[in-house]
């Protein structure tokens, strides 16, 4: 997005500019504004809000003042100063572009070992918002993206957004061919801003370079950058969405909205509209245990389907991504951050199958050593033992035979407390994937907990795992 240098350059200036008395003070004020910290704990030290709005304010105000102060009387100057103060106060309260910064903060929350103490709080607010757009802005943006005004391109287009998205907002519309669609529109320039910010992160984190975490920090930032590159590109999301869509059949009762490519770009995603409710509203209507169980089973199945049939991992298991449709089907949306597992990770996942299936502790320990890059004869120290307890708690729904009661608060808390303990002891550093898996664990567990659902996870997993073609013939003899 625009920066102050561009802008100052663009604002036409007068040939001779006399020095301005208030200029220094102004610069200070704006500097203060633009140094406001991002509210994400540890990062505070390293990261300063670029303060685009403050910069714009500076550029304009300077220009304006130059013209004004030249011939003004003292009284008028005072008046101008009063108005300026008003402007400053407003600038301070304006959250424009926070969304961009927040999106990065949100991604950092995927790497919770960076900010342990902040983690719990961060979990609560994983969703941050881009600035809202009024229809005039949406119209111009769509005009540029789709080559025509929304009123002309679509049969009808609702001027008010019906939902917010992290990078923009979602509007309901109807295509000329009759389909009801959801049009997800990005705030202009936000994707490029985010990417540029992340590119600058390594530099900003330079003071950390001597710490023992540096290599891991750097690798993760690079990872974030790659991920964001994909996540902010709706074409990529559309591609993944189509791929996921092809994994489900009518009788699964799981729907992924169809993408309308002709009405989609890197910044606009037009897809079939799914009518239904998110979990909160769904639960408010007091559905029966049986109905909740059925939705929960679909949730579980959807995740295993992506994983086993397509090597895709959906880490963002939060309520906004699931639509409980009135006809009992489960709608899945938002595939921007779906990960495609690389061979190495996939291989490791294959190795987890055995302990997951047998539920035996020695199998689990053997797997964890490999996961943690420990030699197979490594002694069982505190770290390994804690990881084991954590893995046991996380895997329980899968290893337990029969229905697992996700509404069991004690079970839920146990896994959570173990995870917090791992964070506190900084045992979680490892592959970036770890964090995504943890995030999924808690995302899915919280959803299922809210549903107070009972699901036979194992049965579902056993059906879905067939797609992998893994040789599991000797597991039976290992079962306890």
């Amino acid at each position: 997005m625009a920066n102050v240098a561009d802008l100052l350059h663009a604002v036409p200036t007068d040939a001779d500019e006399p020095g301005l008395a208030g200029e220094t003070r102004l610069r200070e004020l704006f500097a203060r504004l633009s140094l406001r910290p991002v509210p994400t704990g540890t990062w505070r030290r390293f990261w300063r809000l670029g303060g685009l709005h403050a910069q714009i304010g500076l550029a304009y105000t300077m220009h304006w003042l130059r013209g004004w102060f030249q011939g003004a009387e003292r009284k008028q100057r005072d008046l101008a100063a009063t108005r300026l103060n008003a402007a400053f106060r407003l600038l301070e309260t304006m959250g424009y572009l926070r969304g961009a910064i927040m999106k990065v903060g949100q991604t950092l929350a995927n790497f919770p070992d960076f900010l342990p103490e902040e983690f719990v709080a961060t979990l609560e607010r994983l969703h941050f918002l881009a600035p809202p757009m009024h229809f005039a802005l949406v119209r111009e943006f769509l005009h540029n993206e789709l080559g025509g005004d929304p009123e002309d391109v679509f049969a009808s287009f609702e001027t008010e957004a019906f939902a917010a998205a992290s990078l923009g907002q979602v509007h309901r519309a109807r295509l000329k061919t009759g389909e009801l669609v959801a049009v997800k529109v990005q705030y202009p320039g936000i994707a490029r801003t985010i990417r540029a910010d992340v590119r600058g992160l390594v530099t900003l984190l330079w003071p950390l370079r001597l710490s023992r975490d540096w290599d891991s920090v750097k690798a993760r930032i690079e990872y974030i950058h790659r991920t964001l590159e994909l996540e902010t590109d709706y074409r990529n999301e559309a591609r993944l969405q189509e791929r996921v869509r092809s994994l489900f059949r009518e009788d699964d009762g799981i729907v992924v909205p169809r993408v309308f490519q002709e009405y989609s770009t890197h910044r606009v995603l037009t897809m079939e509209y799914l009518a239904g409710r998110h979990v909160h509203d769904y639960l408010a209507a007091g559905p029966t245990q049986d109905k909740r169980n059925r939705f929960a089973a679909k949730l579980v199945r959807s995740w295993y389907r992506l994983f086993y049939a397509a090597r895709l991992h959906h880490p963002d298991f939060h309520p906004g991504n699931f639509i409980f449709m009135d006809d009992g089907r489960l709608g899945l949306i938002d595939f921007g951050c779906v990960l495609e597992l690389e061979d190495e990770d996939w291989e490791l996942m294959g190795k987890s199958d055995r302990p997951l299936t047998t539920g035996r502790r020695d199998e689990r320990l053997a797997f964890l050593k490999e996961w943690l890059d420990l030699p197979s004869d490594a002694p069982e120290d505190d770290r390994l033992s804690l990881c084991d307890r954590y893995a046991e708690a996380c895997w329980k729904p899968r290893t337990a035979a029969g229905e697992f009661d996700f509404g069991d608060e004690q079970e839920f808390r146990r896994a959570f407390d173990l995870f917090i303990e791992m964070l506190r002891k900084r045992y979680t550093r490892g592959r970036p994937l770890d964090a995504f898996i943890s995030r999924w664990d808690f995302g899915s567990r919280s959803m299922l907990y809210r549903l107070q659902a009972r699901v036979d996870v194992r049965a579902i997993a056993e059906q879905e795992i067939a797609a992998t073609g893994w040789d599991r013939s000797d597991y039976a003899t290992l079962s306890n």
């Binding site: 604002v11 709005h53 550029a59 304009y60 600038l91 005039a136 802005l137 111009e140």
Partner: protein, 203 residues
């Protein structure tokens, strides 16, 4: 021989039509007044009776585009917030000015200064545009008590246009963001200063 009003208007139109074509085809820098006169089938000297400089021709073209944009804007206008209304008005202008994006800068350079002694065409654009905004603000119940308000608007406006002429982002998306944020800032500022002194928050 006296030239009738009608003949004058038609010559003026011919000049502008020729310039529009030439500016877009050859670029503002390369299109000379002589060139424009030839294209309009008039003597170079005659052209100067209508426009003292090439910049003045460009300014007239911009003025025409903005008039057309105002009509577009009025036609499509809907009940909305002040921010949105201001945005829609400028956006309509950007659409109409699109063919001239590259030679807008020299025109802008001659208009921005409030006390500027710019040539007539440029000054007229500024006056016209500020009047439109004054009316728009009035429709939202805002009667600026001081000329500063409109001057601030003009500065924002020219700043955005200037930025736009050099915007290299995909489909000039940065300009939309800049415009959105600038006008939101302006509208918020207006609301703050429009309140009576006693209600304002003080530092």
């Amino acid at each position: 021989m006296r030239v009738s009003q009608q003949a004058k208007a038609s010559t003026r139109k011919r000049i502008l039509d020729s310039a529009r074509v030439l500016f877009v085809r050859e670029g503002f820098e390369h299109a000379t007044t002589r060139h424009i006169a030839r294209e309009a089938r008039i003597a170079a000297g005659t052209l100067f009776n209508y426009f003292p400089t090439k910049e003045a021709i460009a300014a007239a073209l911009v003025g025409e585009a903005l008039d057309a944009a105002q009509e577009d804007f009025e036609r499509r206008r809907r009940r909305c917030s002040l921010e949105e209304d201001l945005f829609a008005q400028v956006a309509a202008g950007l659409r109409r000015l699109k063919p001239f994006r590259r030679f807008l800068r020299p025109v802008l350079q001659s208009t921005p200064h409030p006390a500027g002694v710019a040539d007539n065409e440029a000054a007229a654009i500024r006056g016209e545009q500020m009047e439109r905004v004054r009316r728009l603000l009035a429709e939202h119940g805002i009667e600026p008590e001081s000329p500063l308000t409109l001057q601030l608007y003009w500065t924002l406006y020219v700043g955005v246009l200037g930025f736009w002429t050099a915007d290299r982002s995909p489909k000039q998306e940065d300009t939309l963001a800049l415009l959105d944020q600038s006008l939101a800032m302006f509208a918020a500022w207006l609301r703050e200063t429009a309140r009576p002194e006693s209600q304002r928050s003080h530092n």
